[in-house]
Symmetry: C2
Subunit: 597 residues, 2 copies
């Protein structure tokens, strides 16, 4: 069973068309512009000198790599000559400046050549990982293999340094990612050394005393002994995705079980309702998982990259084993904690995605920057190009295939090319999901057995679920209509999530909702939603998903600081917007977890 390649599916309309058009028309260029301005492309010249502006940074290569990967995906669907020209020039520079021995990192080559592979926190293997992924994507999309050759040469060098000579000052990556890239490289080229190197990094992580620098990077115990997730959540997600992919490639059920336990630990104990992960400030453990059920709202970290990494992890798990729990998390992330990281205009980005904003507290604690100020490029600008590569290939999450069995994991108005035992076929989804839950499937050209995920939030459906999927036999030319009831649900968190006790989140389908001050006034925490009140689903062109009006109440303003409880309330219509569109209309309060009665 393999996932279908994203380019087999064309998004035709609806929610994901909005974002697919946006990444092609706005986001890719916006990220390029900011990267160009800040010297990230120039850094590949390796000619920066003291006194010049835009001093290179050790992980800038990865920013550009993710951008190249993203525009490769765009080009694979429809060529983008201008973007390719930029990529070609950059790749020329990589080829030109790559060391004879295969080493490449534009920062270390120019700024710290004496410190190559001496600093475990140097991010060199991380940047290489992203360059490998860019190389694969660019080769596949354009047929241009120059970067791929460079990176294979680079892999040979890394293999020699780490596996054969053990001449680096450390043994395993300080910032993981290369493991996943190497396995993709193996998948794409069958180059055995890539597989071996990935295995080396995964199997040896946590075994070398000198690698155990902090709890923050999953090096305290061997990975196969991990029972709980801990440490930096982005690094964890990339690493676990690689472990899952390795388990799948090598049919290693024990390793898969380790991964499954880690997946459950995240999604059942350490994940925001938006699919975000990580706590903001935790002493030395910044950007890290906290203890089980510690999910504060104002201080949620939920880096956009962390949601992406978790989606990639889930995606690898899903390829190894059909279970709707993996696809459910992907859907949750894609409609909420990932997509919230880019503005509706497509050119501004969030690094972290909190679950609540109280402007007064925000300004007290952070002083200068407003919460709506999605910065165009931040110093640590991993998220914007990550958004580019994910949005440009969002179809990757939709389908898997095993001969004539086609698994539909995600819903989007789209057409997908299938090859059913040598016969070309097309599978069409017509839907305005998540506005409605009506999805029409039509197959042309061949008979298929269609397995459709019934989302975890769906309480009514026809058919029998197996691993979370219902089965429909579709003869060529036939259609099937799935009707997912799009009710408003109030969601409660586990009683151990003390921050949300007595509070509920509003969801409709896969979309998490929030209230903003701009619509609902001050003191959002004081609003109570009436469970049996009236509600209205509204199409608001500003947002790519519906807005909800619902009956609620709040207390009157009073002067007294404390008084005896009374039950006087003012009736209100509370306006909920999809979380993915939060903080797009200027600085304002925001809340997800609300009172319900």
């Amino acid at each position: 069973m393999k996932h279908l390649h994203f380019s087999d599916t064309h998004i035709k309309g609806g929610f994901w068309k909005y974002y697919s058009d946006m990444v092609r028309n706005v986001t890719a260029k916006a990220v390029y512009d900011r990267f160009w301005e800040t010297g990230r492309f120039d850094a590949f010249r390796c000619d920066w000198e003291e006194g010049m502006k835009n001093r290179p940074h050790r992980f800038w290569d990865s920013d550009v790599a993710k951008w190249i990967e993203g525009i490769a995906y765009l080009s694979e669907i429809k060529r983008e000559p201008e973007f390719e020209k930029i990529a070609d020039e950059t790749i020329e520079l990589i080829e030109k400046n790559q060391y004879e021995n295969g080493y490449f990192n534009s920062y270390y080559i120019r700024i710290e050549p004496d410190n190559i592979f001496k600093n475990r926190d140097g991010h060199e293997l991380y940047t290489t990982g992203h360059l490998i992924e860019a190389a694969i994507a660019y080769d596949k999309a354009t047929g241009k293999d120059k970067l791929l050759k460079c990176m294979i040469k680079n892999v040979d060098h890394i293999y020699k340094v780490f596996v054969e000579d053990k001449s680096a000052a450390f043994n395993t990556p300080g910032h993981q990612e290369i493991e996943l890239a190497l396995l993709k490289l193996y998948d794409y080229t069958k180059y055995e050394k890539a597989l071996s190197l990935a295995q080396y990094f995964i199997e040896n992580r946590g075994k070398f005393e000198n690698d155990k620098v902090s709890h923050n990077d999953q090096t305290m115990i061997p990975l196969r002994e991990l029972k709980e997730v801990d440490g930096h959540c982005v690094r964890a997600g990339y690493l676990f995705a690689a472990m899952a992919k390795l388990a799948n490639l090598t049919h290693d059920e024990k390793l898969f079980k380790v991964c499954d336990n880690l997946f459950n630990d995240i999604t059942e104990k350490k994940m925001s309702i938006t699919g975000g992960i990580g706590y903001h400030r935790f002493k030395n453990f910044a950007e890290a998982f906290s203890y089980a059920y510690d999910l504060p709202n104002l201080n949620a970290y939920n880096e956009t990259c962390a949601s992406i990494a978790l989606a990639l992890f889930a995606h690898e798990m899903l390829e190894a084993k059909i279970d709707s729990k993996y696809a459910d998390i992907i859907e949750l992330i894609n409609f909420n904690g990932f997509i919230s990281g880019v503005s509706l205009s497509g050119d501004e980005f969030f690094y972290s995605n909190p679950l609540e904003i109280d402007l007064k507290k925000h300004y007290r604690d952070r002083e200068f920057q407003g919460p709506s100020q999605r910065v165009k490029v931040f110093d640590c600008s991993c998220c914007p190009p990550n958004v580019v590569r994910m949005l440009s290939s969002i179809q990757r999450f939709m389908y898997s295939q095993d001969e004539n069995v086609v698994y539909c994991h995600q819903f989007a108005d789209s057409e997908t090319k299938l090859n059913i035992k040598g016969i070309n076929a097309v599978l069409i989804q017509k839907t305005d999901y998540p506005y409605s839950g009506k999805i029409d499937f039509t197959v042309k050209g061949a008979d298929i057995k269609l397995k459709i995920r019934i989302p975890y939030w769906c309480t009514e459906f026809e058919g029998t679920k197996e691993n979370g999927y219902i089965t429909v036999d579709l003869k060529k030319g036939e259609s099937f209509t799935l009707n997912l009831p799009m009710n408003i649900h109030f969601i409660e968190a586990n009683p151990n999530v003390q921050d949300n006790s007595g509070r509920y989140a509003l969801m409709r389908g896969p979309v998490v909702y929030c209230m903003e001050g701009i619509d609902n006034g001050e003191n959002l925490r004081d609003i109570t939603i009436l469970e049996n009140g009236e509600s209205e689903i509204i199409k608001d062109e500003y947002f790519p998903a519906p807005v909800i009006l619902i009956d609620g109440e709040r207390r009157e303003n009073v002067n007294s600081l404390y008084k005896i409880k009374d039950n006087k309330r003012i009736k209100i219509k509370a306006k909920f917007i999809p979380y993915l569109g939060y903080e797009n209309r200027g600085d304002t309060d925001m809340i997800i977890w609300t009172q319900v009665k």
Copy 2:
């Protein structure tokens, strides 16, 4: 109208007898022992040398001064020869080591003689203030005037340096307190220079550019222009108490109005329900007021000294103007946020008094020290001796008198000596308050007009309130019984207090209640109290105020992190203890603000 001196009232039983006995039998000695061990008494020898243990600290003098003040109050009721001996020896050392010019601070004399009055943050005027208060108390209690003479000489010196020569590196105290002490000195001795110096410090604060070091100490604008409280809450409280006393002494209604506005700003916008004030961590503004209605529970600061300072402020306001709002706040503080700062055993102390403890978060954020570990003496040990001087004179808050009119502000089982137009009389209160709200007043020896405060929490009473007091004419030998209904009240905070939206505090009479994990299990935030459930008031000898059992409910434990809301609940009996006794039984979760339905 003057407050009665504390020594005119003898506590005979009940709640305050518990604490009055405790301070005499345990607390005074415990604080002395810790201060002796840590070198605080030895520091007065002014002979510490590099390499010796217990390096003196610039504000240690104030710790010992408050202790001397406290044991003087104990001696005034019943002589304490052993404590007096210690005080006498210390006073000898002060006299011996005081500079010829009158200067005294044991730290600066020994450690930094070249920096006397050079550092505004040096706390020299603050320590002098407390030594002045100790001198007054010790003279009044024992007739020994040596310290008083030393301190008058010291005041002369400070007057010369600050008012006449202006030779210090700053103009007004970095840490306020001396203002109040000087006014008390004037009150006690009628020494005009003390009044002038207090006026100088108060009137010039906020006027000198070089004094404006931070927002933390009320120096940004002249005090008469202050409209909101800001900055360090202990310093603010002491300063405002002095301003109120000055307004009263000089019949300055404008200054009184300034004070009244500040009092209202604190008590109507910036005070915890326990009477605590101050936010824990606010960048450079530690231990300071936050913005209006920002009253977080886990991070409440609520230093014991801050509650004391606010009570002193209220007490000065009350002497200037009869208004029950001042006495209400004193009662709230005395039964809650002040008294919580000392353990029920009397020998351990809290510096800060949070409104909620979540052990998991506590250990994550603070790592080492458990929340129940009231430390015996902390480095900055201002609170323990402050507890000694307040508990040993707690009667000070009870009565004021204006000829034959006697105002009863506070309730305690007690006998009070009165002088009614030259005739000796006795006013007796018999009560087990706050167990019940029944208070029997009997007067002997004279006729009085008794004015009794009806507490703000009392919704039913007989008579007509004037400024919050009812009037009873009591002929000699007559009795009057006040019956305050002791109902359980659920208190709501202003809707702007976002941290408490949807939550309520349980109070009964003046006592704020809390739930602890040791009684109620994990996840206290998940408990909902039933407003119309049954409740039981229980006498538990462990606590000096009643314990309450009340019907409640909580959710069942489940495995899922998120699920659709249901209304299944488990019935429970929730146990509430008086907040004053929180965290006395080992590390445990604690909560005040709870769900109610």
